[in-house]
Symmetry: C2
Subunit: 129 residues, 2 copies
């Protein structure tokens, strides 16, 4: 049995903020957003808390093209993302076909302990002329 994390003002602030956001944000953006809500939380703590939330599968983390880690509250379970590259709006998608394909390809080549990353980027309807 793992130790439950303590219920601190900082963790509450981060978790509540994540509830209110609906796109991927960097740790630094989240830190800044907390300040603008007069909920000051140290940058280290923001990083630690987001990692903890990601470990607990309460947020998803993905790496942007320029190397930042982005976080977003997401539904549980394995899924992928369709992300608008203009406004950041994100749709969660599932692809059982893809999962099966990935497993089969890996197995055919003698690979085990498979994981995969799959993200789709595009321009959403409201960001198009």
């Amino acid at each position: 049995m793992v130790e439950a994390p303590r219920n601190t003002r900082q963790r509450r602030a981060v978790a509540e903020l994540m509830e209110d956001l609906d796109g991927f944000r960097s740790a630094q953006q989240i830190h800044a957003l907390l300040e603008s809500r007069d909920q000051n939380v140290g940058l280290s703590t923001v990083y630690r808390t987001l990692q903890a939330l990601a470990d607990a599968d309460e947020v998803d983390a993905l790496r942007s093209d320029d190397g930042e880690t982005l976080y977003r509250r997401c539904s549980r379970g394995h899924h992928h993302h369709l992300v608008c590259r203009d406004c950041g709006r994100t749709v969660e998608v599932e692809g059982p076909t893809v999962e099966r394909w990935a497993d089969r390809v890996a197995e055919e080549n003698g690979f085990a302990d498979i994981s995969h990353t799959l993200e789709i980027f595009g321009t959403c309807a409201s960001c198009r002329p």
Copy 2:
């Protein structure tokens, strides 16, 4: 018309090394490998050369989970990778099914100008106990 790059010892050394490797390597690993071949090339130059090769589509670049950019000589054309997370050995794979799935999902959600990233990580047969 773009200016052709000069034919320097350093560029030749990097290009030749990439020919001999068959997995994704970080810029720093490539720099170290060059030293072990007595082909000293400055680290800045390694970075610059790899970026140039990637821009020219002569190598593929992808970001590892821990944020490093990894490079590998690859065949042209759209494909994905099955990468061993221990030894870096890489198999190029194609997934017409996945391509179609991604396009359909994007279209259903009103997204256009689609691109996607898909990499599969696992442990290859020879890296398993």
